[in-house]
């Protein structure tokens, strides 16, 4: 019991942080926002999946992947393919020259569903594919790169090139993929209209639930021996290797997990937004995902969620109010995060927030029992250090 409490939930501080986040997602936001804004928040939260995955591989693993958009996009595309097939029933597409296939295929003179679309008629397969396709790609990339000890900057640039390749492929093969328009006009999931307000509420809660689940899973991974090895590898890879560990396997594993987490976000994105397009696969969204994690704090899973929320809210707000200023702010944010607070919001909290909290606490219970308290405080800080590390 104690082990679960400490590892999965991250001790008292972890529980409080998680509870606050859950309360924010499940209670506060739905209470104060109308469904339009809440749907937007839902969209931001899907990016949080990618940000969390970056905390795993970048913050802890030290591997900066500039291709998280690839996995996010693949997950989203898998979901979109299923929904598109459902939306293209022969009745709905009667005016096409070949009814029963997605409209963009008809425009591109396809007369038959391509083979790799066939399995996406099945929902269980789709759910499997959402995790398996990005996982498999990550595995291939991971084996190819990490086994050959490609790392650091090279890895970043190669993942970036992969993002570029996938975008060009999707745009170029538009008969098969919907091209630059993406897969649009998605309506129902098993006959359930995903565009209604009630559906949006439900999807929002499912999304929130999954996100909390993913954070718990990540905590579990990081608190295991693997997590400590990751940190050790990040800081002194050679030493870990000389200690007899196969470094590349750990890297491959965490890279695959991160890919699958991003893919879940992508699938939820498709459901909530109603379409998927190559603009989420490319280089720019991939780098933006990194900045969500960086703003939240690259070492903090919960911070990543706040980072995604804040940056995206800022993007929406400023692009509505001062479109001219938006790029300045986004650019400034990148620079400021890197130069002045490299540990992001979580780092700021560690530095200033905590002290304030302590002050409030100590003000509340003025008469301090001397010896015992210091001991407890000592325990507290060591737990906090673990969390921050």
């Amino acid at each position: 019991m104690k082990a679960i409490y400490n590892n999965l939930l991250g001790g008292r501080q972890g529980v409080i942080g998680l509870a606050l986040l859950a309360a924010l997602i499940f209670l506060v936001l739905p209470m104060f926002l109308d469904i339009f804004r809440l749907n937007l928040v839902g969209k931001y939260l899907t990016y949080a999946f990618a940000a969390v995955s970056l905390v795993l591989i970048w913050g802890y693993g030290g591997i900066l992947s500039l291709g998280q958009g690839v996995f996010f996009g693949l997950g989203g595309y898998c979901m979109a393919m299923f929904l598109k097939l459902e939306a293209s029933s022969p009745e709905n597409t009667a005016i096409q020259s070949t009814p029963g296939i997605p409209d963009f295929m008809d425009w591109n003179q396809l007369t038959q569903l391509p083979w790799f679309w066939e399995p996406f008629n099945s929902f269980p397969f789709t759910l499997f594919a959402i995790l398996a396709v990005p996982g498999l790609l990550a595995y291939i990339i991971g084996v190819a790169m990490f086994k050959r000890r490609v790392g650091g900057v090279y890895f970043s640039i190669i993942t970036q090139a992969i993002a570029a390749i996938l975008t060009i492929l999707i745009v170029g093969q538009q008969g098969l993929t919907g091209g630059i328009n993406g897969i649009t006009d998605l309506k129902t999931l098993h006959g359930w209209d995903i565009r209604t307000d009630s559906a949006k509420y439900l999807l929002y809660y499912i999304n929130g639930g999954l996100l909390i689940g993913v954070i718990l899973l990540s905590r579990f991974i990081l608190s295991s021996k693997l997590g400590r090895l990751l940190l050790a590898m990040r800081d002194k890879e050679d030493r870990v290797r000389f200690s007899g560990y196969d470094v590349s396997n750990f890297k491959i594993f965490i890279f695959c997990v991160a890919a699958m987490i991003s893919a879940m976000g992508g699938a939820m994105f498709t459901l909530q937004v109603g379409f998927m397009s190559p603009s989420f696969v490319g280089i720019v969204p991939s780098i933006e995902m990194v900045i969500f994690a960086a703003v939240g704090g690259r070492m903090s899973l919960i911070g990543a969620v706040y980072g995604a929320l804040i940056v995206n809210y800022g993007k929406t707000y400023f692009s509505e109010t001062f479109p001219e200023l938006w790029l300045f702010l986004m650019g400034g944010l990148f620079i400021a995060v890197v130069m002045f607070f490299p540990n992001g919001l979580a780092g700021l909290y560690e530095k200033h927030g905590k002290r304030i909290m302590e002050k409030i606490k100590s003000l509340r219970r003025k008469p301090t029992p001397p010896a015992e308290k210091t001991l407890a405080a000592g325990n507290d800080t060591s737990a906090a250090a673990r969390e921050a590390a």
């Binding site: 490609v150 190669i158 790029l327 986004m330 650019g331 400034g332």
Partner: protein, 307 residues
């Protein structure tokens, strides 16, 4: 390829060869600046494309001003525009190194994020200053049209110009790095910063000048590109991935590698484009690069340095 005469095929072969060479010089010109910044200094400058855009806008401004105030001078403004492009990009690079980059040498991945932010800011500055529309420079007569050695061969003059410029800049960089005192200091600093400092080299100044020089060369590249295409606020982003791949593929620290990699990428791309669609050619080229990089993670040429 039935139905074509031998001369025709010959001419196409020559022109296709030139298309490859021309792409090679474009890639090399883009990559030279980055080869110094990323290859020698290890800074991942994602704003490299924007430094090119600075050069391009400078040239466009020059062309507009010349057309307005000294129309007779329009045939000669181009070299001056390139010089000024270099100086402006050099100056801005110098400042950026001072304000930002020098604090980040120990965190190369973070330079990537910070310079990406810088590139966003620069794009918005371009947009506010020059408008969102794409603009073009009015080119002098001697850069337009083609050179016809035979009846059926047309060699684009702007291609020849870019090629000549690339040779000139490459030689300049080689001289700078391998023959001048400055180059000695730069190489010493990149190979062993602490030792270089210990023997009295002002490593900070070396860094600043190297970075600025890389930016300045990007400025020249941007100026040259106005002969090929137009300039808009986001033009730089088009080039950045290709540029990095050229440098990485060549082996980051090797200037010869950069040249070899630009050459092979350009030839591969341009030959494949001849036989398949542009999109597929691009995908195949990129995949080949990645494939080869997996076999040789250090790139084509690498310098062995003790870590």
């Amino acid at each position: 390829m039935g139905g074509y005469t031998l001369t025709e095929l010959g001419s196409i072969f020559v022109m296709q060869g030139f298309a490859g060479l021309s792409l090679f010089s474009v890639l090399l010109l883009m990559a030279l600046g980055l080869a110094i910044i990323f290859g020698q200094m290890g800074v991942i400058n994602m704003a490299h494309g924007e430094f090119m855009t600075i050069g391009a806008y400078t040239t466009v401004m020059f062309s507009v001003l010349t057309a307005k105030f000294a129309p007779g001078f329009i045939d000669y403004y181009f070299p001056f525009a390139m010089l000024v492009s270099f100086l402006i990009a050099f100056g801005i690079g110098y400042f950026v190194e001072f304000a930002m980059i020098r604090h980040l040498y120990k965190r190369p991945l973070d330079t990537l994020l910070a310079t990406w932010g810088l590139s966003l800011i620069m794009q918005q500055i371009f947009r506010s200053a020059f408008g969102a529309r794409e603009v073009s420079a009015t080119l002098p007569e001697w850069l337009l049209g083609s050179f016809q050695p035979t009846e059926s061969i047309d060699i684009p003059l702007n291609g020849i110009f870019v090629m000549g410029l690339t040779v000139f800049v490459t030689l300049g960089v080689f001289y700078f790095l391998f023959k001048s005192r400055w180059g000695l200091r730069v190489r010493a600093t990149t190979q062993n910063r602490i030792m270089a400092g210990a023997v009295g080299i002002n490593t900070r100044l070396v860094d600043r000048v190297s970075f600025a020089l890389g930016c300045g060369i990007a400025g020249i590249a941007g100026a040259a590109f106005t002969t090929i295409t137009s300039t808009g606020p986001t033009t730089g982003t088009l080039y950045i991935v290709d540029t990095f791949l050229v440098v990485v593929f060549g082996g980051a620290a090797s200037l010869f590698g950069t040249i070899a990699s630009a050459f092979s990428i350009a030839q591969a791309q341009s030959i494949m484009e001849f036989f398949m669609t542009g999109s597929m050619a691009k995908v195949l080229t990129l995949l080949t690069i990645i494939g080869i990089l997996m076999l040789r993670p250090e790139g084509l040429f690498s310098i062995k340095v003790r870590k």
